[in-house]
Every structure is written in structure tokens, then in C-alpha cells.
Symmetry: C2
Subunit: 141 residues, 2 copies
């Protein structure tokens, strides 16, 4: 897989909230059940997303998670940042820490262009781009 399992869970959860959340708080248990993802594991992931502002959370009755940003302005890169670093250092095909035009690995020149496409995808695609159906107007707080 391109993304780790954790990243896939994160992305699915955020899309789920964009598609069906309607700006309301949704319980972890409900999200976990809908997505068929382990409850406590998801809880930890959603908590990490709340820390970065991607999600918003409250406890107690009527608590849960909702989007913390406008989905049209929320890039996949922002969602995945706490988990995989899809972008950045991991860019080198041969696993180098530092790999640049000035100090390239054997694959650098040919891989560069391909990787640029991947990078752009994650930096420019938004949650709204991927969410199916009508995206409700969400009032941010």
C-alpha cells in the first residue's frame, strides 16, 4: 500500500465526516462501526487529527468529532501529516535522508518528475474534492 493502514483510517474518517457529518458531532463508536475500523485505534487517530485542527472534538452527551476546517480548504497533505510523511524526506526512492539535485541518488533525475506528480496530488487535492454527494455548509467555530 502507498499509505499506511493508519493513514487510510484517518482519510476515510475525515471523508466520512465530510460526507455524512453535516457539521454535527459524530461519536467514535458510530464512525468505527460505519467504517469497520477498530474503535480505540480510531479514537487515537481522531485525537491526533483534533490536535492539528483538522477535526474538532467534545466529550459527554452529544459529543464526538466533526470537521475543524472547511473541507474545500483542507488538503490531503494536512490530513495525513501526523501519520505518514508522504511528502518530504521520504521522497528518495533509494531511502536516502538527503537526496537533491546537487547530491542525487542513482534514481533521482528520473524519479523526480514522477514524484512531483504525487506530491502535487496530496498538496492540492482537498477533502471536498473527494467527498461524494452534497457537502453541507459547515459552520466553523
Amino acid at each position: 500500500m502507498i499509505l499506511s493502514q493508519t493513514s487510510v483510517y484517518a482519510l476515510k474518517a475525515v471523508l466520512h465526516l465530510a460526507e455524512t457529518g453535516g457539521g454535527d458531532f459524530v461519536r467514535v463508536d458510530d464512525i468505527a462501526a460505519d467504517l469497520k475500523v477498530p474503535r480505540n485505534y480510531l479514537s487515537k487517530i481522531l485525537h491526533a487529527l483534533a490536535r492539528t485542527g483538522v477535526l474538532d472534538s467534545t466529550r459527554g452527551p452529544h459529543g464526538g468529532f466533526r470537521l475543524g476546517k472547511n473541507p474545500a480548504k483542507l488538503t490531503l497533505d494536512e490530513v495525513l501529516a501526523p501519520f505518514d510523511e508522504v511528502i518530504g524526506e521520504s521522497a528518495c526512492l533509494l531511502g536516502r535522508k538527503r537526496c537533491s539535485d546537487a547530491n542525487p541518488c542513482a534514481a533521482h533525475d528520473r524519479w523526480k518528475g514522477v514524484y512531483a506528480g504525487v506530491k502535487t496530488f496530496f498538496q492540492e487535492t482537498t477533502v471536498a474534492d473527494l467527498a461524494r454527494g452534497a457537502i453541507p455548509e459547515i459552520t466553523l467555530h
Copy 2:
């Protein structure tokens, strides 16, 4: 990392043989020392590459590993096939087993084109493309 550590070792070893092997058998110990890669772990990897015909191996004095195919005809895809499946099922961003135009995940339409570039890179880039310096003429057996 895009590729697993194992895949990186495999790719580095094959490039190393293309660049410096000169068609002769090279000992695992020497490759491992040059690449700074664990010896027995590399041995297992090279053995797997020999099974698919990418490499050729012999035991005993003057034994070791050498390329089993013309590097100009050896694609990265062929090298990595026993380890990661960079190409194929793992294609779906959201981790689906089956994800197609007919039965797409939320990311399918937008990811498809980007992924096609990655796929093409691995299918069309050859070991000779990445090997630095003169590639010696290798007599295949």
C-alpha cells in the same frame, strides 16, 4: 518511504552489480560491505532475485552473484516484484482490494492519473537507465 527497506536493498544490490560487477560473480559479503547492508538479510534477498532470474548465483570459490539479464532490458518492476507489489492491487489509495472505474473508491478518479505515472516509471525504467558510469558488456549464459 515509498519502497520497503527490503526493496531498497534489492534495488541497490542490482544497481551495484550493474555498475561494478562487470559480469563477474561478486560475493554477498562484498556487496553487503559495499552497501552497508546486513549480510544474511541481503543473502536472502539476492537468493529471491536469483529465483526470478534477475540474478545468477554459484557457490564455492569464485562464486557469488551476477546479473542474470541484460540491464537494458531489466525493469525496476521485475527487480522489485518478489518484494513490494508497487504495481497492482496496492494501487487503491484507500486500501481496497478491488477498486476500478466500474467500482471506484472516493479517490479513484483523481488518483488514477497520478498512479499511472508511478506505474509507468517502474515498468519502463531499466537498471541500465539508473546505473551510473559505463555498463560493461555482459555475456549472458
